[in-house]
């Protein structure tokens, strides 16, 4: 039941993000003061913000921006992590130990603080956000890829290729990469919600995407202004657009993990 619900929620959000922007043109600077600060109603399902913009349409736009930034950031961290993990696993020895120390070191950094540091010095922009999330989040991918490479290295087909005289690059390209790809893909999918979270947190602090761009973090930050006058919906609505997809991905990944490791099946029954 929760699995179907999660799939349905993700499908609805994906359709909305794909279809709504081309149909409903959003003028980012549109101001309609007659409709300003309306609570949720039939004409505006999720209400309007302090300058009269419809929060549902704007949140869908925001989700699209946040998703794109999150996806690129997740891909960047997967590429870095994949390369480091591949190098550590296939080179072995001193290189492996050094690289794993680097991974430990990165894990000891408070991620958001480093993200803030990077964005602060290079002016808030999508690129700065992507870099700051990408360079702090590749360690999980590196660990996954390294352990996978280590287990692949002792398989007969890899040993056969090595004893047949295949070069190191050939072994990596022809025999290791195809096996690593599904793991990397899954890790990327799981990384996207986290990357979106980082984008929204940075934007919320005023250190993320430029303020005129409708991203979920910027919208929550805007909503903060009207909060004390009793308007709760401009803060609530964009947060739901972060909460629902993140929760759906978490439920699906939990179920997938149980499927893959029946022996370590958790006690969670959702």
């Amino acid at each position: 039941m929760p699995v179907r619900l999660s799939l349905a929620a993700l499908a609805v959000l994906a359709l909305a993000v794909a279809l709504v922007p081309p149909i409903v043109q959003l003028d980012q600077s549109l101001v309609d003061l007659r409709a300003a600060g309306q609570p949720p109603s039939l004409s505006h399902l999720f209400g309007t913000d302090e300058v009269g913009r419809d929060l549902l349409v704007r949140s869908i736009y925001g989700l699209r921006v946040s998703f794109l930034v999150g996806l690129v950031a997740a891909l960047v961290s997967m590429v870095i992590g994949g390369l480091v993990g591949l190098a550590a696993g296939s080179l072995g020895g001193l290189a492996d130990r050094l690289l794993m120390r680097v991974v430990d070191g990165f894990n000891a950094l408070p991620h958001l603080l480093f993200g803030i540091f990077i964005v602060a010095l290079f002016a808030p922009s999508p690129a700065a956000v992507v870099v700051s999330v990408g360079v702090t989040h590749w360690t999980t991918a590196a660990r996954i890829v390294r352990s996978e490479v280590l287990s692949l290295r002792s398989r007969p087909f890899v040993e056969a290729a090595i004893s047949g005289g295949a070069s190191r690059t050939r072994v990596v390209r022809r025999h290791l990469l195809p096996h690593l790809f599904p793991h990397l893909l899954l890790a990327t999918v799981l990384m996207v919600p986290h990357a979106i979270w980082h984008e929204t947190a940075l934007s919320f602090l005023g250190l993320g995407l430029p303020p005129h761009l409708a991203s979920l973090g910027n919208m929550i930050s805007d909503g903060q202004r009207s909060l004390l006058t009793g308007a709760w919906w401009p803060s609530l609505v964009p947060g739901l657009f972060i909460l629902v997809p993140t929760l759906a991905v978490a439920v699906l990944s939990q179920r997938l993990r149980d499927r893959l490791n029946p022996r370590q099946r958790s006690e969670l029954e959702l």
């Binding site: 120390r101 430990d104 070191g105 894990n107 000891a108 950094l109 408070p110 991620h111 958001l112 603080l113 480093f114 803030i116 540091f117 990077i118 964005v119 602060a120 010095l121 290079f122 002016a123 919600p193 979270w197 929204t200 947190a201 919320f204 602090l205 005023g206 250190l207 929550i220 909503g223 903060q224 909060l227 004390l228 009793g230 709760w232 803060s235 609530l236 947060g239 972060i242 909460l243 993140t246 929760l247 978490a250 439920v251 958790s266 006690e267 969670l268 029954e269 959702l270």
Partner: protein
């Protein structure tokens, strides 16, 4: 005891080079940054300030010297305890951090205590009533809570408890009208940030307690305790919970980066005058000396958390002690 000492030595041997590398990377990033600290410092006045005075400021800050000399000077000062001068507060960094660190420790410390106590109770109840509607509610709530951004939770808490109900203040350390800091005033202002920080950090702990209590409830010694006719509460607290507790200590250490992240966001939402929220102000003002010092402080906090967790684990679990660590 020797095992503990060896582990501490091992950890410190890892921490020192890491901190050195972090300072080098931060300095390199600052050098590559397009921001001109002098113009940043002067703001609009930079347009009307004569170039000679700009050069004078540059010389005073040592910015006209070669890069490696600048780094050596900065690094030397850091090691000798001189953190430099904050460019946005126009005061020594050590002073800015000193007067805020206590508030951060107070808020995060209280939040951790609350998180621990609350998660133990909630997680144990869920395990005890496994499969019931209550259990499902707790598990579902924990998953939803994990997916919700902490700053969003903070805003919702302000909306409900400060704006709609009017029970608690929305932010700050004391009422704007009060001139002095009184205990009751601070305590009232602390409730919401501490509760939000504790709740936002507690999901994994609730789920963890639940899962490991369920695991231990099946063990022979629990069955034995039941057979001896002990009360259900005694079994749950004295037997199941106690042996389920051990692995927390390391997990708690591993969660330090998240705690730092949570503190940054919660302090910003509630205008709590701590060091974590100050890092955001420093970033917005591109105040490199302050931001660098706070980033180092955050890294030290994470390393110290890991170390404390390992020590606690070594002391608590005799098996780790005999096998040795590292």
């Amino acid at each position: 005891m020797r095992a503990v000492l060896r582990m501490v030595a091992w950890r410190v041997a890892f921490a020192v080079p890491l901190l050195v590398i972090v300072t080098i990377v931060m300095f390199a990033l600052a050098q590559a940054s397009p921001f001109d600290p002098v113009r940043q410092y002067l703001g609009d006045r930079a347009l009307v300030t004569s170039p000679e005075i700009l050069e004078q400021i540059r010389a005073n800050w040592g910015l006209d010297r070669p890069v490696h000399e600048q780094f050596a000077a900065w690094f030397g000062n850091l090691v000798s305890g001189d953190l430099g001068e904050s460019r946005s507060f126009h005061r020594p960094v050590a002073e800015v951090i000193g007067e805020r660190l206590g508030w951060t420790l107070l808020a995060t410390g209280s939040a951790m205590v609350l998180m621990f106590a609350g998660s133990l109770v909630v997680g144990t109840i869920a395990a005890w009533r496994r499969g019931s509607w209550l259990d499902r509610l707790i598990v579902g709530g924990a998953f939803a809570n994990e997916a919700a951004p902490v700053f969003w939770l903070g805003l919702l808490a302000i909306s409900v408890f400060a704006v709609t109900l009017g029970w608690l203040p929305a932010g700050g350390l004391t009422d704007a009208a009060s001139a002095s800091i009184t205990f009751g005033d601070v305590a009232a202002h602390m409730v919401l940030p501490v509760a939000v920080l504790a709740v936002s950090q507690s999901s994994w702990l609730v789920l963890y307690v639940r899962e490991s209590v369920i695991g231990t409830l099946r063990e022979d010694f629990v069955v034995g305790a039941r057979a001896r006719g002990l009360r259900e509460r005694t079994i749950l607290v004295r037997h199941a919970l106690r042996s389920a507790l051990l692995p927390f200590l390391t997990l708690l250490g591993a969660r330090m980066p998240e705690l730092v992240t949570g503190a940054i966001l919660v302090e910003t939402v509630f205008s709590w005058p701590g060091v974590a929220g100050t890092s955001v102000q420093a970033a917005l003002a591109v105040d490199f000396p302050l931001l660098a010092a706070l980033t180092l402080l955050g890294t030290v906090a994470v390393l110290a958390g890991n170390l404390l967790a390992d020590i606690a684990y070594t002391v608590a679990d005799p098996r780790v002690r005999t096998l040795g660590v590292g």
